[in-house]
């Protein structure tokens, strides 16, 4: 590319209310220092229309111009046309799109200056700003053992490279393991997930570390040193034969995490029957021995000597890896925040995740749909003794698309709600189902077809969000507006399912500090480029997979898991890895520009 002799810059800063955190004055000062910048205009200097722009171009003899700002693409056609009318080459309208360099909270002014400097020199930022490279440790750390983390781990292991898979809970599988069927194919979730989970456990290249958490990360791309807290399971994973004798005898109870608190488990337990590793563990919080010093019932009955060690303590290990894949998943929206729906007060208002457990054959009711009832100790749980609902309502967009909570659409709730309608009809033929939605978002392959299929079934799908749920005569009374009919809609049902949205997991904040990767406004981890680089982060060697990057469904989580693995494998194959993008200082960029333009000049003279 030829270094343009005379360049003009148009700063596109129409001041979208308070959404313009860029210091344009500073940028203008910087741009003035370049001898080949002849004129600079701001948005408010004159009215940007075809006529005025053409005049400016003609009057100043501009044949090369830069439009810089947030979303400058919006005005590109205007400039191209003006250039064409003035008889200049419209291809010489160069965009400096600052929104690509937003770091999550602020704009890094040095980055913006670097971008400008490159474009003024007639070079693209990407060709100049190539980070330095480091050698790579071939081992990879995957944080989070949901479907995304599992997929990433397997892909890397299949390339015969070592993986540490660190999972916070006692089993891998994540949310998907709790589901019965998945949309839109209505595949049995366990049937497709369990083989992968087992494979993770058996693959010699995968070091599965459950009940563990990352404590500290240091180093840089290619060689990260990671301190991991290994919580005491108090049951030896190697020797436990999973016979379950201990659980039978254990007197202590606590709500089951895996069933989202809808059933009770013992203090020594296996999260669910297909858990991987398929071994028992002890929850120190509820274990009577650990609280009072008396009991040891499990130890007494365990057939394997020294398998249970109630005095085992947490410990830490440090590992060294070259790449890190973050796959920490999502946290469901806390439905208690929307008191109008009565979740937490009205026992038969359920969250969608709780309902998934009701549908699941390995769940507390064996896959039958029953109302929630109280056990002898007063815990509200699901049992098969309780009655079955006749009328069920499903409310969409709970906590999503709501400025009081999360502004964004959670992407999967419309589809899983439709899935619920279908599965309820399958399990409770003749049940009356009402779905209340605002917009039906059935994007994606086979999704609209799935929606059409449900529409044919005996489900009432009504446009209009329910405004509130109240208890009336032991039933649940709903009030909303049927938008299409323009009438107030009132209904009395037995069970209400809240289609709660997806939020960034709790640890996202701590992890983002620990790993030095930014988060976007909505709390999820931020990718380098939304369109073109959705798995990389601004730190070299750290990638994102699954719902920790933003709401998405299983197919997309899996795809991103594979993509992140590809990035790790790429660096391992090459033996080298780029350092952080943000680590290139402005001076280095300026030096490189000088060098590159000199090379170009020499080429020209040859």
């Amino acid at each position: 590319m030829r270094s343009p002799s005379k360049t003009c810059i148009f700063f596109y800063n129409p001041q979208f209310s308070d959404f313009d955190p860029i210091d344009y004055a500073e940028l203008i000062r910087y741009a003035m220092t370049f001898p080949n910048v002849s004129r600079i205009w701001k948005y408010h200097d004159f009215i940007w229309n075809e006529q005025n722009l053409t005049d400016k171009i003609e009057a100043n003899g501009i044949d090369h111009l830069i439009v810089a700002g947030l979303l400058p693409g919006t005005v590109k056609t205007l400039f191209s046309k003006a250039m064409a009318i003035a008889g200049k080459d419209p291809a010489n309208v160069i965009l400096a799109s600052f929104n690509d360099y937003y770091t999550g909270t602020t704009f890094d002014m040095d980055r913006l200056k670097s971008v400008l400097a490159c474009l003024i020199a007639g070079l693209s930022y990407e060709t100049v700003a190539i980070p330095d490279e480091n050698p790579v440790n071939p081992a990879t750390l995957v944080i989070g053992g949901g479907i995304a983390g599992i997929q990433a781990s397997l892909e890397i292991a299949y390339s015969n490279n070592h993986v540490y898979l660190v999972e916070k809970t006692g089993t891998i599988g994540g949310k998907m393991a709790t589901f019965d069927k998945t949309f839109p194919t209505l595949d049995c979730a366990a049937c497709i997930l369990t083989p992968k989970m087992v494979e993770v456990n058996q693959n010699p290249f995968i070091n599965l570390m459950t009940y563990c958490e990352v404590q500290e990360v240091s180093g840089e791309a290619g060689n990260y040193s990671v301190r991991i807290l290994m919580r005491a399971r108090k049951v030896n994973v190697k020797t436990c034969i999973g016979c379950g004798t201990c659980t039978e005898k254990c007197p202590a109870q606590a709500p089951s995490e895996f069933d989202y608190g809808t059933s009770m488990r013992k203090a020594i337990y296996m999260p669910f029957p297909q858990a991987v590793p398929n071994k028992y563990m002890i929850d120190a919080e509820s274990c009577i021995y650990l609280k009072t010093g008396k009991c040891r019932a499990c130890v007494k009955v365990c057939p394997v000597p020294d398998c249970i060690n109630l005095d085992e303590q947490d410990h830490e290990v440090t590992i060294n890896v070259g790449n890190i894949i973050v796959a920490t998943g999502f946290k469901p929206f806390d439905a208690k925040k929307m008191d109008q729906f009565g979740y937490g007060r009205l026992p038969n208002v359920l969250t969608s995740l709780e309902f998934e457990r009701l549908l699941n054959a390995s769940g507390p009711t064996g896959g039958n749909i029953h109302l929630r009832s109280q056990d002898k100790k007063g815990n509200w749980i699901f049992t098969e003794e309780a009655e079955k609902p006749e009328k069920v309502a499903i409310i969409h967009c709970v906590g999503s698309r709501d400025k009081n909570h999360n502004k964004y659409c959670s992407r999967v709730c419309c589809m899983y709600s439709l899935k619920f309608s279908h599965l309820i009809l399958e399990k409770l033929p003749g049940a009356e189902i009402h779905e209340y939605f605002i917009d039906m978002r059935s994007f994606g392959k086979g999704y609209e077809e799935f929606y059409e299929r449900i529409l044919e079934e005996d489900v009432s799908i009504v446009r209009g969000k329910t405004a509130k749920v109240e208890e009336r005569n032991g039933k649940l009374f709903l009030r909303g507006e049927d938008i299409l009919k323009g009438e107030i809609l009132e209904n009395t049902v037995d069970m209400v399912i809240l289609s709660i949205g997806l939020e960034a997991a709790e640890e996202t904040r701590d992890l983002s500090r620990m790993l030095g990767i930014p988060r976007s406004e909505d709390g999820f981890f931020e990718e380098v480029h939304y369109n073109l680089d959705p798995t990389a982060t601004s730190r070299g060697g750290i990638y994102l997979a699954g719902t920790c990057q933003g709401p998405k469904d299983i197919p997309d989580s899996v795809a991103q898991g594979s993509a992140a693995a590809a990035r790790a494998i790429q660096s391992i194959l090459k033996g080298k890895i780029y350092k952080d993008l943000i680590s290139i200082p402005l001076e280095t960029i300026e030096k490189r520009i000088n060098k590159l333009t000199l090379v170009q000049l020499e080429e020209k003279h040859l």
Partner: protein, 384 residues
């Protein structure tokens, strides 16, 4: 009937209030949350739709904005921060300007210069009338006190002149208001194409007007009963004051100091307390902005509150100074009192905030007329 779309409607409405009404995605939460919305007269969502589509005629023939008492339940639950409650408030301001044929209402609502300018102008005229007009007509006041030691107020403000002026003002204001209500009737009932309301229904439903005016049952339906009370107290105080001052002025503005339990003083005290209490709630609410209904204050809201407070305070001061025999102070505050009161009544009652006192009960009346409307006979019908 063809439908005319007015895309500029939204921008026009923005001058009457604040809200991002285009943000509404029609989930219906607001309507279902609203304690006053009822079948056949659903709001606020439907009104937002009309606004978004620019259906000016439909908006102008709506009674719904007057049925909303701005409890704010809709705004606080709206998932899009579209602020439906403020839209209803803005629609009330807009409708006031539409009913008003003089065009002044629109000017007052959309231009602060106009509103404050006219208030100042009238205030200055009032001061001139007292300082130059009355003396020029040959009236001179006295600083002598009555036998009870009170101020001879009628020597300063001759009762027959003030009364005549009061009546004149009442007739002008009443005339404007009545003509505006007729226009409101025309827009809501008459112009509405295909239906007609029989005379009998007009008579039968009339009680609603009286009932809604005096009790304000709709306001009581809002969840927070405190506001019903303070608003009702304020409204009843205001109405009593208005009637007493306009219709019974000679009985009210006396030089004789009556015992405090006398009806004249008792009514005065009741009205004063009602006004003060209501004002206190409204002013502290608007300052603290804790309740949704007080989030946004239009200039007209503040102006009105300030003027009414000034009127009440000066009224109290006149009363005190008169009883304790302080003629100059009495006279000065009498002028200030009138300089605030007259523009307030002339501008607020027919053209601005206070007109809702009349429009609201009429809207309920019209609402019931609408429910009992029968299809108008068309030619085809009569042939059959």
């Amino acid at each position: 009937m063809s439908v005319r779309v007015h895309p500029e409607l939204r921008n026009q409405l923005m001058q009457f209030g604040i809200g991002d009404w285009n943000a509404c995605y029609h989930c219906g939460t607001c309507t279902a949350m609203c304690p006053l919305s009822e079948e056949g007269f659903l709001f606020p969502r439907k009104k937002i739709r009309l606004m978004q589509m620019g259906l000016k005629n439909e908006i102008e023939s709506s009674v719904e904005p007057w049925l909303c008492y701005y409890c704010g339940d809709c705004t606080s639950t709206c998932p899009r921060d579209a602020n439906p409650g403020e839209l209803m408030m803005s629609l009330r301001r807009y409708l006031t300007s539409i009913y008003d044929w003089t065009g002044l209402s629109k000017k007052f609502y959309t231009s602060e210069v106009w509103e404050i300018g006219s208030i100042l102008l009238i205030a200055v005229l009032v001061v001139i009338a007292f300082l130059i007009g009355l003396p020029a007509m040959g009236y001179s006041f006295t600083t002598e006190l009555t036998s009870q030691g009170g101020v001879k107020i009628n020597s300063f403000a001759p009762i027959h002149i003030i009364e005549a002026f009061d009546w004149a003002m009442a007739i002008v204001v009443g005339g404007l208001l009545i003509s505006n209500i007729l226009r409101m009737y025309y827009k809501i009932i008459w112009k509405h194409g295909h239906t007609k309301v029989t005379f009998w229904v007009h008579v039968r439903e009339f009680w609603r007007l009286v009932f809604n005016f005096s009790v304000q049952p709709k306001f009581g339906k809002c969840d927070d009963k405190r506001y019903w009370f303070s608003h009702w107290f304020l409204m009843s105080g205001y109405t009593i004051m208005f009637i007493v001052v306009v219709v019974f002025l000679p009985w009210f503005q006396t030089e004789k100091i009556l015992p405090p339990w006398h009806l004249q003083r008792a009514l005065g005290y009741y009205a004063t307390f009602g006004l003060l209490f209501g004002l206190l709630v409204a002013i502290t609410g608007r300052m603290r902005r804790k309740d949704v209904k007080f989030y946004f204050s239009h200039v007209s809201d503040w102006l009105f509150l300030v003027m009414l407070t000034l009127t009440v305070i000066t009224g109290i001061l006149i009363h005190i100074f008169r009883i304790y025999g302080m003629p100059y102070a009495t006279y000065i505050f009498y002028i200030i009192h009138m300089a605030v009161l007259v523009p307030m009544i002339l501008i607020e009652v027919p053209f601005s905030k206070w007109s809702h006192l009349a429009y609201r009960p009429f809207a309920v009346y019209f609402q019931h007329l609408k429910t009992h409307a029968v299809p108008r006979k068309t030619k085809i019908n009569s042939i059959n």
